[in-house]
Amino acid sequence: MNDERVIDERRQRAKAQWEALGRSPVPFIYIGAASCGLAAGAADTQKAVEEYLAQNKIDARIIPVGCIGPCYLEPLMDVQMPGRSRISYSNVAVKDVVPILAGFFEEGVIPKSHLAGHFGKGELDGIPRFFDLPMLKPQVRIVLRNCGLIDPDDLDHYLASGGYEGFEKCLSMTWKEVLDTVKQSGIRGRGGAGFPTWRKWTICRETEGKERNLICNADEGDPGAFMNRSLIEGDPHAVLEGMLIAAYTIGASHGYVYIRAEYPLAIKRLRKAMAQMREVGLLGQNILGSDFHFDIKIKEGAGAFVCGEETALIASIEGKRGMPRTRPPFPAVSGLRGEPTIINNVETLGTLPNILRNGAQWYASYGTETSKGTKTFSLVGKVRRTGLIEVPLGITLRKVIYDIGGGTQKPFKAVQSGGPSGGCLSEEFLDLPIDYEHLAEAGAIMGSGGLIVVDSDTCIVDMAKYFMTFTQRESCGKCVPCRVGTRHMVEILERVCDGKAELADLDKLEKLGRTVKNGSLCQLGATAPNPALSTLKYFRPEFIAHVKDRRCPAVSCKNLVIYRVVASKCTGCQRCVKVCPTGAITGPRSEPHNLDQSKCIKCRSCYEVCRFDAIAGDAIIIES
């Protein structure tokens, strides 16, 4: 029997099993166990579930799943009783496990506390559908379609949801036909620059070479972005299937996944998924009985932001310092070991199976004229509902921040798009459609998809300093504008934050920023000044307050604020005395405390303890 029939039969079986899940006599308990869920305590929650089931001798299956998106609801636990809808509970701490499970197993009711939504169709006892929650309703889940719903370690789950159908379709087409499909879908590289995927592929395919290489770029270095981690942790086979499709089209025989060592769970999932592929003949020689050969190796990154740049990434795989080189030649012509090489982002690859399975027209029906399809974003910072989202391109920032993210608690100040290479946009841009062109025009970039929302408590100068410090540290040092220029920009920003700058420094900063932008060799340097330039452009008054009034309007810059005890409010409860690490606060019990400014390191402990634990509540204030 040839391999193609093996996979078809296995899929039929997997689909039948999946459907049988709905009729299963055994209840299922799903636990969101991606890195974010685990950070929120999902492992403890799972342990509590196991203990409950063991104690009560209940036969149920626990399925750890990936991230479904709304991280602010973690840990998430779903319960599916035989023949019933899967029901999701949010913020399930250890103490909440027993009451919820007891409701189902002992009282036969659907407990209402911690209830988030159900995954069935239509109305269910007044419980909303999970995907109708305000955070999820405006989303279109294409690449994330399986995340949080299937067991990422189970190939059958992926097969049952149409997995590897896109690739099988591929095998029945010529590479030109596949390329044409990808071209018609309009998908552009999701790593940041937005170069049309089909065009890059064409260049590679048309270049003569001994062998061609495909690299999946999972070196998600942008601080504040975790889309790629979530996708690999939640649905590793989608990315691997995408690699098969890309490799088939460009004629690559060697594949690499270049992934950050900081993502151990994602690496584990990939290794397991690759072993499963090998078992059913989806990797290696004569894949599914065809004459297509392809294998994948995992290369762990060693911690260098610049390795997200294509030529630096290649240098790193070759065992060298990860320093970019001049382009052209582009990697598509001369890349790894001098051979034609395609580097595609995780999300681009993860989207391909859907395009092949459902057709180019279907994909192109989402998005705008020039930016087709959907894009994932990590929506974080000061929004109420943080998490991983997927939206059609062209949606406005306002819709994302307010409808999906639920807005901010304190007044909205800015949104940073594109990480350290991106820009900070002010309130006036809230109605800007999110697509490659509009964001670039406004001085930001799409980037890989980090959206960091800040409110009036965040100092915009400090934010610019943060990003500049980051790129300065990560500059590889090869070219002078980036190596020296970013250092001077950081120094100026430090002076502004310390209240030691002059107005002329702001002009210097702008001029320097333009020089670094124009003079740098690679995109790290060419985009490094963006955060400083965009904040200077849209938030100049805040810079001026630091320079002229020596004041930080957000009361955040350490050297421009002081901590003070309001004597009339302080009850002398001594909580702050206990937490102060330097002994700066003194005072006898029941009398207003004394804060010695010379000892204060502005660590914020007293402020927090006073607000949350002390009797008075807000007797310690921070002023600028």
Partner: protein
């Protein structure tokens, strides 16, 4: 396992080509906790790459350490989301409590402290990793509690 044995084991697994250098360094660090001078010398002889060159590559990447790590690793995330939610202050507090700076190890060899660029748990910022466990939604008070708890566990 001494690093010498470690390397002879690696010789079975890797061909010793230039592309193997970073994976080999990663494995050696996994075994020894850091890159010892003698380990680098052995790799140099095996792979026929100069020690200078190996140091050049290793120092380029943030992952590699050249000093013995502590028994426990405290990593403070300073990704963007953690930064805007007060990660810097948590770092100051950890430095204060452990009485070391980032990149250092406490005198008793128990703890080392590092800043990391992003742990990818941004929606639950600020986060801190204590060994392999990630603690979410930290505050300056919580980090003190965790450090106190962990040091007490250790003494027990």
């Amino acid at each position: 396992m001494t690093s010498r044995d470690g390397i002879s084991a690696l010789r079975q697994e890797f061909k010793g080509e230039r592309e193997d250098l970073i994976p080999v360094l990663q494995r050696v660090q996994e075994q020894d906790g850091y890159l010892r001078q003698d380990a680098i010398r052995s790799i140099s002889r095996w792979m026929k790459i100069s020690e200078n060159e190996i140091f050049g590559v290793a120092t380029f990447y943030a992952q590699f350490r050249f000093h013995p790590p502590g028994e426990h690793h405290v990593k403070i995330c300073l990704g963007t989301a953690c930064h805007v939610k007060g990660g810097e202050q948590i770092l100051i507090m950890a430095q204060q409590r452990l009485n070391i700076k980032t990149g250092e190890t406490t005198a008793d060899g128990k703890y080392d402290l590092d800043r990391v660029a992003c742990l990818g748990c941004c929606a639950l910022a600020p986060v801190v990793a204590f060994d392999d466990k990630i603690h979410s939604q930290m505050s300056v008070l919580k980090i003190q509690g965790i450090l106190e708890r962990e040091t007490m566990n250790d003494e027990r």
